[in-house]
């Protein structure tokens, strides 16, 4: 039987984490919340919801939390890992849209995209300024052509997990995972997903930080 883990990174998400875990639990058994040094009740709420909680003693960023979750899942013989945001912006019902291509079509990595058939109410500034910029940067500097440059909803096979190690602790992990997937020659595709915007999310300043992180990390390698 295929062992599937859902990794949910969470930082100060006490308001959303219970519902987020419940959403994912409807479809998957192994839910792992990586509590990334939260200062609120995130860990307690996640446990109450029935998730396995891993706690970073200090905040290290979403990329770092995801890698901790990946390591945990790999050690427990995971066949597939699903990354799911802790702020409740993804739909649990779409989890299998990401898993099915791995199980049935031989893909190693499946990425959610807000820019395919399904429509999300994306803020205009992001649609027309931030994402086109991010897409262009991914294409020019990372040679990655995807419709959605920054989507945290993805599924990775065991092979992909073994080949992709997330070095960017912060939000630059999205571009990094896409880049490493391509570099490792893994078979990947995008599938349409819906994103519910409870808040604006990443701003232009976050985008600049992502760029800086990618650049400095590249120099360090």
């Amino acid at each position: 039987m295929t062992k599937i883990f859902c990794i949910i990174p969470a930082y100060n998400e006490e308001k959303n984490i219970y519902q987020t875990v419940k959403k994912a639990q409807k479809y998957l058994e192994n839910i792992v919340v990586v509590n990334d040094g939260s200062k609120d009740q995130t860990a307690i709420k996640a446990k109450e919801a029935g998730a396995k909680v891993l706690t970073h003693p200090i905040n290290r960023g979403q990329g770092a939390a995801l890698q901790t979750g990946n390591d945990y899942a790999l050690k427990r013989q995971a066949d597939i890992v699903v990354h799911f945001d802790g702020d409740g912006q993804f739909l649990g019902s779409e989890i299998f849209d990401l898993i099915n291509p791995i199980q049935e079509e031989g893909y190693e990595a499946v990425f959610g995209s807000r820019f395919l058939e399904k429509k999300s109410a994306i803020p205009k500034f992001k649609t027309y300024i931030i994402y086109p910029l991010a897409r262009t940067i991914n294409r020019i500097f990372l040679n990655v052509k995807t419709t959605d440059p920054q989507n945290g909803f993805r599924a990775l096979s065991k092979t992909a997990l073994q080949k992709i190690r997330i070095d960017n602790d912060g939000m630059a992990h999205c571009s990094e995972i896409l880049y490493k997937t391509k570099k490792a020659g893994l078979k990947f595709k995008e599938v349409p997903v819906t994103v519910i915007y409870n808040h604006f999310g990443q701003k232009l300043s976050s985008g600049i930080k992502i760029l800086k992180d990618l650049f400095v990390n590249k120099l360090n390698q």
Partner: protein, 114 residues
Amino acid sequence: MWQQIIALIVILFFLTRLFSQKNKKNISQAEFALWLVFWALAAVAIIFLKQIDAFLYELGFSGGGINFLLYLAVMILFFLIFRLRLKYQQLNQKLTEVVRKITLETANKEDRQK
């Protein structure tokens, strides 16, 4: 002349700070040596400013020696900031690895106790 004296006083001040840090064992021998050479070269450059002027003129540069030293200082500063950023990033990654190790070990213990 006065500018040179002021510059030398500033260098002297930094040298006293350097020796003080060394006495408190806050910096390594290598780091101490690097900064000692750096400030010594800066002092030599200030003392022989006229000779540097003449040398630069020979090379075809129209600017004065002090301008050249300023450009050099800015370049060195940029390089040092760049190195610091890389070091900072490396330290951050090491910190993350430590945090991850602690987290996973705790989780493994919890799982074994179940």
